[in-house]
């Protein structure tokens, strides 16, 4: 007995011209995307790789023919072939399935690390630039000290403290990335603070929080997006190095870096595919994020080009 009432729909008569305009606006985003892809072909390639990786991570159960820790009877260290695209490892596990599940580890670590790092970096960077003075001086000296450590050495030390595990990898990588990124965000904020709209906001009596949230943050958003994309590639690379050294995601979880260490190295002469495919996966993923980041930077902030 209910009648459906559509709210907010324009009740215009469907003339052919209007219909045409509607369908055009529906596909406009696609046109914009294609135009962007033509202007930045390398960025488009990166975007496709990143999209493929996201699909692999999200639907690993559907895509992978086997579980990541399933031992397949009678298929120990089989070379790549029709049954197992990328071969099997020393524990008779399907390499392709492990690579697919590995995307989930890389994506999880990548996105959570970058998200955490950017929140911390924005808080440090924006407040350091905005309040200046003693706060800026102290914070920047700590960042200085932090940045003087070779990244792998500091992460190894932190991981030794925290112990291996997915959460700790994310925490230690985020700690490092936030220091680096806070510098860039501080610089961008200092630039934004010179603008007259900040002065105007202050003149009409806006509080610190309002100026920071409504005026400064939106204006450094482009910088933050670029840092995020480039950071994703760097984090995936760093995670793989950590797992390779045995300080990362513990087995049997299929981390690409971990697959290259241990048995990957022990059997590399007898089953080279065990040492090849995970590396290809890491390289492709990082390549994709780097390409996409480069293109985004050119489009969003031409001033940063080449840095």
């Amino acid at each position: 007995m209910t009648t459906r009432v559509e709210i907010g729909r324009p009740m215009a008569p469907a003339t052919p011209a209007l219909e045409h305009a509607r369908s055009a606006s529906r596909w406009r985003w696609l046109v914009t995307l294609l135009r962007l892809a033509r202007r930045k072909p390398l960025g488009a390639v990166g975007g496709v790789i990143v999209a493929a990786m996201l699909v692999m991570a999200a639907f690993a159960e559907r895509i992978a023919p086997y579980g990541y820790d399933d031992a397949i009877r009678g298929a120990r260290m089989k070379p790549p072939g029709a049954a197992h695209w990328l071969g099997t490892d020393n524990l008779s596990r399907d390499m392709w399935s492990r690579i697919v599940y590995g995307a989930r580890v890389s994506i999880t670590v990548g996105f959570l690390t970058v998200a955490l790092a950017l929140v911390v970096a924005s808080a440090i960077g924006v407040s350091s630039a905005y309040f200046g003075g003693a706060w800026d001086l102290i914070v920047q000296r700590v960042v200085d000290a932090w940045l003087s450590f070779p990244y792998l050495i500091i992460i190894l030390s932190v991981m030794a403290v925290l112990g291996p595990g997915l959460g700790n990898v994310i925490l230690s990588l985020a700690l490092l990335l936030s220091a680096t990124n806070s510098r860039v965000i501080r610089g961008a904020t200092l630039g934004a603070m010179q603008q007259t709209y900040v002065e105007a906001a202050r003149a009409i009596g806006c509080g610190h929080l309002r100026i920071i949230v409504r005026h400064l943050l939106p204006n450094v958003a482009a910088t933050i997006i670029i840092l995020a994309t480039i950071g994703l590639g760097a984090v995936i690379l760093a995670e793989s190095a950590l797992s390779f050294l045995g300080f990362g995601v513990p087995p049997p979880h299929p981390s690409w870096g971990g697959m290259l260490s241990g048995s990957g190295r022990t059997y590399m002469f007898r089953a080279p595919w065990m040492a090849i495919w995970p590396g290809v996966a890491i390289s492709l993923a990082v390549f994709g994020f780097n390409m996409l980041g480069d293109a985004l930077r050119d489009v969003l902030d031409p001033r940063l080009r080449g840095s």
């Binding site: 003087s148 050495i153 190095a241 390779f244 870096g257 780097n290």
Partner: protein
């Protein structure tokens, strides 16, 4: 003027170094399970543990240990390794040359590739060579160095039965053999830095080549080489030198992986083992040395600006 600037920068560097020393000191102590437990393993009684702790000075409050340690460090004493019982400084100085040679080679290689390719890429913007160089650079930033190293060990072995990794050759035994075994690891280590430097060189040079004085130079009829190198590169080089300074910690961090893969007994592998064995004095010593080096190099880089660009005055 320069002297005053260097002194000022040194004064700013001191608090950073102090904070770094505090991080260096506390981090290894937060590692769960201490060296004493590891050293005595299963057959330890509570009394033995307490005794050994007292002997090593690990039973005192943390801040006392820190001040004591810092006092010794200032006098050039980094303590002795809990495991080998030999002075840390001695242990490090034995292994440091390997890591330094590796890093030096890697930086040299990175610059030798980055500068010419960056210049060609910028002067022939959007040409096939430029496209190729840029894609290769991004690829160079994407490929994990430990994987590349693994491939370069595995592939020649499978195809030609040739193994690059043999026993380590000491410098005293054969200087040439010593340097040759470090060459391949150094090249792999330098690839990422090279790619980053090339991209920056290209970007900065492109910006400089659009300046008015470059157009004037063309109008005067100067040769292309003179314009690109003397008017262009000379003015584009400062950010590149800055990046070179920030690449140093990256390269030293990379030696941890490279020394492990190639089985080189350098300082970074020593540190890696020390972390696994909770050898505090060694972890502290190596970290402190590395951090101080990086801070000093960055100071040197800053001072170098004035030499590279006479317009900069301090």
């Amino acid at each position: 003027m320069l002297k005053r600037y260097v002194v000022k920068r040194l004064l700013i560097a001191i608090p950073s170094l102090l904070i770094a020393s505090l991080i260096v000191f506390t981090l290894p102590r937060l590692i769960p399970g201490d060296a004493v437990q590891l050293m005595l393993s299963e057959k330890a009684y509570a009394k033995d543990i307490a005794e050994l702790r007292a002997k090593l000075g690990l039973d005192r409050p943390m801040y006392v240990q820190y001040v004591d340690w810092l006092g010794h460090v200032v006098r050039g004493d980094l303590g002795e390794s809990l495991w080998t019982r030999r002075p840390v400084l001695e242990e490090i100085s034995q292994r440091l040359p390997i890591t330094l040679t590796l890093a030096g080679f890697a930086l040299t290689f990175a610059l030798a590739i980055a500068l010419p390719v960056g210049v060609i890429s910028a002067t022939r913007q959007d040409s096939l060579a430029d496209f190729f160089a840029r894609s290769t650079a991004i690829l160079g930033l994407s490929v994990p160095n430990f994987w590349l190293a693994t491939l370069l060990i595995v592939m020649p072995a499978i195809w030609w039965g040739w193994r690059p990794v043999g026993d380590f050759v000491e410098f005293s035994a054969s200087p040439l053999g010593y340097l040759r075994q470090l060459l391949l690891p150094a090249v792999i280590l330098g690839i990422a830095a090279s790619a980053a430097l090339m991209r920056l060189t290209r970007g900065m040079l492109l910006e400089v080549l659009r300046q008015d004085y470059v157009r004037t130079a063309w109008a005067k009829g100067l040769a292309e080489g003179v314009i690109v190198l003397k008017h262009g590169l000379r003015n584009a080089i400062i950010p590149v030198v800055t990046l070179l300074g920030t690449q140093l910690p990256q390269i030293i961090g990379g030696t941890v992986v490279i020394e492990t893969v190639f089985g080189l007994p350098g300082m970074s592998r020593f540190l890696f083992d020390a972390i696994n064995q909770r050898d505090y004095p060694v972890i502290q010593g190596v970290n402190l040395l590395v951090v101080s080096t990086v801070v000093m190099v960055n100071l040197g880089v800053d001072a170098l600006y004035a030499v590279l660009d006479p317009r900069i005055r301090y």
